[in-house]
Amino acid sequence: MGKVILEVRELSTKYVTRFGENVYAVDRVSLKVEEGKSLGIAGESGCGKSTLALSLMGYYFAPLHYISGDIIIDGQNISKMHPDEVRRKILGKEIAYIPQAAMNALNPTLKIINFIEDVIHAHDPKVPKKEIHDMARQRFEELGLPAEVLQKYPVELSGGMKQRTVIATSVILSPKVLIADEPSSALDVTSQKMVIKMLKDMMEKGLVKAMIFITHELPLLYNVTDDIMVMYAGQIVEQGTAQQVVFDPLHPYSKGLMGSIIVPESGVRDVKLTAIPGAPPNLKRPPQGCRFADRCKYVQAECRVQSIYMREAANNRAYRCIFPEEQLRKVYQNE
Amino acid sequence: MIHTLRQVFRSGKFVTGFVIFVSLLLIVLIYPLLVPDDPLAIIGLGTFFPPGIYVNVYDSVNVSPYTLNLPDATTKRIADKLGPKERQDMKEFLLAAGIPEEEIDIEDTAKLLDLWEKNYDPNKNIEGMTLAKMRYYQRLNNSLKGLLATEGLIVALPNAQTGQLEQVKVIEQSDYANINEVPNVRVLPLGTDNFGRDVLTELVKAAGVSLQIGFVAGLIATLIGLVLGLLAGYLGGMVDDIIMFFTNLLIVIPSFVLLILISFSIGQDKRGAITIATVIGFTSWVWTARAVRAQVLSLRNRDHVNLSRLSGHSTVYIILNDILPYIMSYVVMALILQISSGILAEAGLSILGLGPRTTEVPTLGLMMNWAMIYQAHVLGKWWAYLPVLVTIALITFSMNLMNTGLDQVFNPALRE
């Protein structure tokens, strides 16, 4: 087992709406990412995966609020730190973020290089401009981006170029952990491939030590990440290696989710495509029992009453269900 | 549709605006039923009678009096003529006339009046005293005469034969007339204007006419803007280029200037309220056209529109069924804004003296114009202009609130 770079323990966060209602979007999430590994997070839209990405940064601003839990990056617990200390010492340096809609992630009226200056000065105001320019040029070239990009405004860049610029900017301070929230979903196929290759290269070169990759495109996740976690209604419902989760899902929700996609890999092709009926519960008042109960084919009376906890399974896997592994497998086989 | 309406009425801002607006509308509709007077009838002989209840003096003398012994009646009567300011002024005069300060006690009414009677000389010219001040003292002196008298007033009529005055009745100081028994009482809640017209009645009528002007102007402007916007946005190409060229031209040329030029060219005697409304409508459609076009452009290539086009529907059918319903909320918002700006435009024109001709109907702008020409604001006759301003502000404010409310319902991004 490698060195754990990112560890999250029982992290809970919530949204506060403008009517003062709480939406419990991330509920007691725990995870671990080892050095050199990448973790994928999958789920339907609205399941809380993007909120989890934001929550992992350890820096909260309205409408997102921290409730409890710990985020430990390379042995340093950032949940107990003062927000300004997090901003200065952690953000960008230890953990960095690639946003969902990278098209608009750059300030349209600021040249890329000026933005990078601001980023670096936010952590150390004394770095001379010359040094920043050299550093930025070097980093951009290293990642296969032309240095001229630095002198341009975001509007002058194409979509794919913009996204790659965002990625390069995110890792300008060589963060240990990179959190990518749907980094390629808005792009055309060619740009998508370039972005994915860039992310893989960065991991290989050790520019970032660990990565969390969030997407609703499961095939992509399977190709990019080592491990996968499935999220449903703010909770982790299953975790395991990419292979395990995609080809041998245990949780009924994961099962349904994998059934609802086409993975062009051998073995999956014959599986019939299904959609999961129903909608996720309202997270303003999360149900007491299993959150998937209303949509679950195998629901039992007690599912709705008692809290369901993560259950360990063979091969380092875990899932959140009332049934033991063997029983689930039996049920699936009988279908 | 019903769902949308329910959502709209859940917006606090919209409801506030709506309630204000509907109340105004109801007043405009109901008031004339209760007070059917001609709003432009000149009833007052003189300008700017203050608000109040006007009791006919002749009638009140002729009703049979009731005797009420109220202890503070005398005090009130004196205080009305001899307030703190008058006492101070009297003291000033007496000091100037050479009376030592310690002898003057302005609190002691009897003594003060006594001193005044002995020392006041209407012809005395005190140094630095203006003519106006001298007149003021003369008026004050007249009003003080008989202030402390306790006997009543005698009403006398000339004898038909001898021509001599004969006492008809005596009005005692303790005589009261019951206002319900006085046949002629007129309430003027907002007094009269410079022409002697009842401001409230006039104002209600003016608000009605101004709303009409706003509606006509708003409807015309919205209709033109909508049609041009739809054509430009949907047809595109040359049509779009031509329409947008003129729209952009008219956007930079101040519409108020155009209004002035057109209004002046029409001439005073041809300018009716509806003519003005039409002119306003024809000069203020540009923003609507631009906005509608932008909306249509974003709709033009939506799937449902393409589908409709592929199904062989005509352009008119597509515009009416697949585009118009989607921009309706927007058009309603534009209409509300146009109505309110139409009312403001009329007011602005009237202030310049280019409003509707003055003989037929009042409008809010004309009332404002009259009040200003007769210097009501400088003379402190607030009832002639302030209610008008408040009415204009309430109308535009309520419409804008409705608009903001609608905007928040239809553009959730602004909900903060």
Partner: protein, 339 residues
């Protein structure tokens, strides 16, 4: 000046010329569209206003010649353009025999000195307040927004009258009308300058107040929109200080406000003209009122034309400035060139 910016500049300059020509055409045609012989109609109106009978005949002849009604319409337009380009706006009816150009020269300075600073100050204060409302939210926003909505819907003359009643009539801090004391002759004495300053305040602030309301509302929505933009979140997660982010946001929210200023300058000027009228401020608005009162056609025609041209120039200048500060303009131009 870069090539793309030069292109933008020339584009805007061409547009200025086109709009100016259009303004001339409107100014020329509108009065002629009215039924009847314009000269007869106009001189009939002068008959009520003129006191000088010997002057009247002369005016009629001069006016008929100037209007050139007996000539074909395109020739009439040429005469009109020639006169205007020579600065010849004819002779005033109401202040006969003073040339209109002379009257306008005397009042235009007052209008520019009043409106230009007032619009700028109102725009700056309004935007600052709107930005603060968006950023601070809570109480400040709750108080400022209803007031702004109310104020921006208040008619311009209403604001002027209320300020006048409070500060000039009741408190007597400022005079009620005029551009300087009526007992003074314009000169460079301290007394005169002080009088000008005192007379300046109320018209100035009433224009400023009216503009603040609308600008604050616009800036608030723009800022809220920008504060929720993706780049704000991204910049925060890279550890950039809120202070720097607020600078980004307000700069970006401000840019559309500048375009907004260009587009609404006509409305602002109209409101300001009415404020001038309320205070009998000796600018173009008051001149126009006098023109209307005196049925002075040449004066009104000239004043409306001058106001339009001034607005067009202001609009042009703002667009030019905007092109300098918004990089997106340059990019758009470069793209156009490339594609």
């Amino acid at each position: 000046m870069s090539k793309s910016y030069l292109r933008y500049f020339l584009n805007k300059l061409a547009w200025l010329l086109v709009t100016a020509v259009f303004a001339f055409i409107l100014n020329f045609t509108l009065p002629r569209l009215m039924p009847g012989d314009p000269v007869a109609a106009i001189t009939a109106r002068i008959a009520q206003g003129m006191s000088n009978t010997t002057g009247m005949k002369e005016v009629y002849e001069r006016y008929a010649e100037q209007f050139g009604t007996n000539k074909p319409i395109h020739e009439q337009f040429l005469i009109y353009m020639k006169n205007i380009l020579q600065g010849n706006f004819g002779t005033s009816f109401s202040q006969y025999p003073r040339p209109v150009a002379d009257i306008i020269r005397a009042s235009i300075v007052w209008t520019i000195a009043l409106q230009f600073p007032a619009i700028i100050v109102g725009w700056i204060i309004g935007n600052a307040l709107g930005a603060m409302a968006a950023y601070l939210k809570k109480g400040f926003d709750k108080v400022l927004m209803p007031i702004s909505i109310f104020v921006s819907n208040f008619p311009a003359f209403g604001m002027a009258i209320i300020l006048m009643v409070i500060f000039a009539v009741n408190l007597k801090w400022f005079p009620t009308s005029g551009g300087y004391g009526y007992n003074l002759i314009p000169n460079f004495s301290w007394e005169f300058i002080w009088s000008v300053i005192v007379h300046y305040q109320l018209p100035f602030w009433s224009i400023v107040l009216i503009i603040i309301g609308g600008q604050a509302i616009g800036m608030r929505s723009m800022s809220i929109y920008e504060l929720n933009a993706d780049y704000v979140k991204y910049a925060r997660f890279l550890g950039i200080k809120d202070r720097v982010i607020v600078r980004y946001v307000f700069r970006n929210a401000m840019l559309p406000q500048i375009t907004g200023l260009a587009l609404s300058i006509g409305t602002m000027v109209s409101g300001a003209l009415v404020a001038e009228i309320v205070f009998s401020y000796p600018g173009l608005g008051y001149t126009m009122l006098n023109g209307v009162m005196g049925q002075d056609y040449p004066l009104i025609s000239a004043v409306t034309l001058i106001i339009t041209i001034m607005t067009l120039i202001a609009n042009f200048l703002i667009e030019i400035l905007y092109g300098i500060i918004d990089p997106r303009i340059k990019a758009a131009q470069a793209e156009e060139q490339g594609g």
